[in-house]
Symmetry: C2
Subunit: 394 residues, 2 copies
Amino acid sequence: MNSIFSDRISDVPRSFIREILKVAIDSSVISFAGGLPNRELFPVRELRSAADKVFEAEGKEALQYSNSEGLEGLRQYISAWYSRKRSLSIAPDNILITNGSQQGLDLLAKTLLNDGDDVIIEEPGYLGAIQAFSVYRSVFNPVPVSDEGMDVESLKKVVSARSPKLMYAVPNFQNPSGISYCDENRYAVSKLLADTNTLLIEDDPYGDLRFTGEPKQSFKALLPEQTILLGSFSKTVVPSFRLGWIAAPGHIMEKLVIAKQASDLHTSSFVQHVMYRYLLDNDLDQHIMKIVTAYRNQCLAMIRSIDRHFPPEVTCTRPEGGMFLWVTLPAGTSSMTLFDLAIKDKVAFVPGNPFYINREHTNTLRLNFSCVDEQTIADGISRLGKAIRQLLKQ
Amino acid sequence: MNSIFSDRISDVPRSFIREILKVAIDSSVISFAGGLPNRELFPVRELRSAADKVFEAEGKEALQYSNSEGLEGLRQYISAWYSRKRSLSIAPDNILITNGSQQGLDLLAKTLLNDGDDVIIEEPGYLGAIQAFSVYRSVFNPVPVSDEGMDVESLKKVVSARSPKLMYAVPNFQNPSGISYCDENRYAVSKLLADTNTLLIEDDPYGDLRFTGEPKQSFKALLPEQTILLGSFSKTVVPSFRLGWIAAPGHIMEKLVIAKQASDLHTSSFVQHVMYRYLLDNDLDQHIMKIVTAYRNQCLAMIRSIDRHFPPEVTCTRPEGGMFLWVTLPAGTSSMTLFDLAIKDKVAFVPGNPFYINREHTNTLRLNFSCVDEQTIADGISRLGKAIRQLLKQ
């Protein structure tokens, strides 16, 4: 008998991170493995007040079925935010509200990809995107990223050899590596993609969480007709509402709305109302500043501890924002082996392999600094340093 | 240049209902076209209190990212509800929380269907299911349904000729027709599907809204290993939370969780917490009773007016529950032509065609009675009667 399952679902890699998180659930383990925002910074009181107002003033309206595109006011807010913060002109009609950016990836893949279409992803790249695209059976073309951004020579080869349908990039404080594309790199990538049929998905969940340095040009400004921009309130306001959005050119938007409708009719309009009320009543800039200050300190604490506890042959990225940094062990060592040693010392992280396509061993690992306090960071990195020294002695 | 879009998205029929609703938005039009629950019955005060308690007692927890399967307590509640109300034994581990039943359809199609797989649907059938399955390029095999349920002879032919992968059915108070499968029909359908590889999706959003008659056997009881049951809080508590679920055998559940994760990580855990708190603090049976009483009266009012105002050669279904009834005009007439006449008389409905596969004209139409009060129903049906008489004179 044939499998009862679709071919596509068999192609999706299981989330390795899920398995890791199960190990890390033991409360004596210090975990740098998660990808969670710091819950101490959630605006609980403000959201409570916003929810209460929604029930009071527009209860029945906010509880009824709604349109697939999303709440008009919320889309206007996002449009105005882009204009004010990024000098981007994106009309509310070009914004579709989604269940977080993850659904944005699903809807885009659903709308754009046929089986076997070529997709460029970053190496290392975001696991959620690899999963979302795998469902639609794309062929992955990984292009290395480093401190400067994407490797332009490799990109050039892939673009000319494969005419890829899509390129997926997280140019600000990338997950998993924490790197950002510098302006020169963005210009070079844009120049290379211009006059091709490759669409660029610019995923920007962390862009507002900048600790240092100047904001960079969005690809949406450099390649407006080819770029689809994904955004999210998960890292700046609250993750559990599952509110993100897609900003896309009109002809793509039209198809995305059909895909959204077929996928779940619409995103919870109740949480959209509450979010919109929260945004009207509060200063989002100020709230983000609080998050940025905390994460900056946590990131610096982690780098300080790394400099102190890790052997000099181990390197790490120096993120300008976001929630992650990336550690590279000496060539030939395995972060999977390190994981086993580290867990004995009660510290967890995510080994690099799931962020690559078909790689069983890597000498890299991801550390999350956003949801661990500074003292715990110091303790955890010290434990991890011990485990690394053990590994290098083997 | 080839289309930039996927083949699958070009296959999805646009929602005709959307277009209809645009026409019906004029407030002088009496609309039986929508499919909305009656907003006057939403438990606004109770949900407000539930939301407040969630912020108070578990704010940070309820605002953080969560697991893909859904809130444990909510899944236990649903499991206990099935046991109490339907004598069905479904473990919480076999329940996946989704963004309404619509996402259940998307996840099932994603997990089970390859391009070109055969799917049995009801004729007339639920448009949302047609859309969801179209995305995964299934081949539709419509089987007529009537007052008794599914046409067993037609079903037999399709099953033996095509070995379909899936059958999709709404056995209680079907959308669009309002019909229900009688017990004998359920036994006959089950007997026919037993020992085949066809999986049955039993979509039951209206099952609790029974006005009259005895509850019928669930296919889940008759074919437990082959049946996947979909449920929803949209019609019994609140639509805008977008909370539904899939109850499926364990080996299917495992793949559905992967699909869910790739689609949007998880359903808003905040609204799951609020729903769970609401269910703990309130008597759902009692609340449903209120809805049933109102809808029963509205349905009876509609049937009374139809009997009075429609010519005798026009027939309609007599639903035992739910939100819709189905009108059949004399053979050879078109409900699309009627729509144009009716709109001039300021009354709207959904013509039957979108509920069939590839049918431009039908002599059937759907009327919704759940969100219009009794007086308005009387006025609207009188207007529609006039339009029908005009049509028959043509």
